[in-house]
Amino acid sequence: MQLQPKATTNAPTKNRSLSLRTREKIAGYIFISPWLIGFLFLTFIPLIFSLYTSFTNYDITSEMNWVGFKNYITMFTIDPLFWKALYNTTFFVVLSVPLNTIGALSLAVLLNQKVTGMRIFRTVFYLPHVLSGVAVYLLWMEILNPQTGLVNVALSWFGIHGPAWFFDPHWAKPGVILMQLWGVGGGMLLYLGSLQSVPESLYEAAELDGAGPWQRFWNITLPMITPIMFFEIVTGIIGGFQVFQQGYVMSTASGGSPGSGSPVNSLLFYNLEMWNQAFVNFKVGYANAMAWLLFAIVMVLTWLNFKLSKRWVHYEGGDQ
């Protein structure tokens, strides 16, 4: 703005400012070029390729032929493992997402109280979230060992005969969900951050109106943290439908081979079945059809979540 009088009187300055602006643009594109290149080669082209091959019989080695909707039809009408995998994954999502939400939120509320040693408690509850990878899966195989594992030993103190966990097709998935729940500290921290951002004045006003702790929680705390809850549920569902490693590694708990979904396909999650189709059976076209169906399912659920959110998610600054 200040340059304007100068620019109108002095032609060379105007030219120079133009070239500066061009240089600015070029700099901008240079700075984002790593992402642009990565997006093109690691996302965009693979995405198009994946969609195209889902309509072919592509198997990496032999010639690729267009087969129309055949892969999709086979999936729905012929392949029993597809339905099994879809069921297992849905089961996992339906149970683990609410349990994670309740667990993380309750922990966050507890950790938001003014009690001595809170820093240590927060560290303790967050630690399992940091511990991940194969070592943790191995640990849980040991923890959920039917005879000598920690959980069943602890249950026996109360006279309860614990289940066979990964040796029983009905208890294998709950075992994975329990293992998942151990790392609930990640979500806990998000809720804690959001709990601490609730203005103190709201509580004071409610207290003056005679609202008890429960009323304050239901009418102030809960509505104020619904945006984070919404975010956690959306990402939880998206992530839940991509469960893979847990199934791949835990298949070995009862002596099955990695990725077999043992016992009796009870751990054959959708992504695991996709993996097997692509990298064991080399039916890449079919696996990509499965991938796109999953993409569609996740997109519909996310859309539905956003639609429903209008009824329960509360934004302080009005609707966004």
Partner: protein
Amino acid sequence: MAVNKVPGRYYVGRKMRSRIYKTIIFVVLIVLSVTILAPAWWMVATSFKSMKEIMTTSNTFWPKHFHWHNYVAAWEAAPFTRYTLNTAFITLFVVLGTVISNSFVAYGFAKIKFPGRDWLFSILLGTMMIPGFVTMIPTYVIFTKIHWVGTYLPLIVPSFFSGAFFTFMLRQFYRQIPNELLEAAKIDGAGHLYIWWKIMLPLVRPALATVAIFTFNGAWNDFLGPLLYVSNESQYTLQIGLTTFQGQVATQWNYLMAASVVALLPVVLLFFLFQRYFIEGSNIMGGIKG
């Protein structure tokens, strides 16, 4: 406050109630902490036990004898030193690539005006919604065609092209830095590269540390990447090594746990050293995501 007008007895009662309440919460937290830490302790305890002790049903939280030798035996039963070096090598480059590329790209999105910027940024955000598996198979095919499968390149190179999540996060940090600082540097004749490297990066150092730490954890624990692209046993990472080790010593839970403890050690050390960044880092992301 209204409370002060209430007779003393009521006030004391209130204080008492609050003390009882706090004690209850404290006890609940202690019990929960023990429950949450028990599996981790179980792992350490098992790693010191003899196989005989593990197989007996009367399992204990404290090993009868500490078999330190389990660690040596486990480490020698498979080439774990090799696996650790491989993992460290990959992790180092992935962390380097992620921090450099994400901070570079985020600067472009945050501080430079160019046509189509906002449009491109919404595409970047949109990519967060794509399930990994949709692009995984084609990416594998691409890496096969350029003969990268069997090398570490597919694990390392993509991290140099920045991703949606950390770019988004760092952009938020850059935007908090006043533009006057940038303008002043420009008047002094500094280019964007200089401003980014010399002025911006030192200012967002805590955010960079957060990115580095989270990336370290992700890369150290990565399982799917090496499972997909590594074929030669001498190239195995710790994660892959542990799964194959499990097959070899299926009943030797003490060895398995010993190897697992060692594999987790760097992550635990990092957590306690940089605890502040972990706790704050998650909050930062929460703030942005919400």
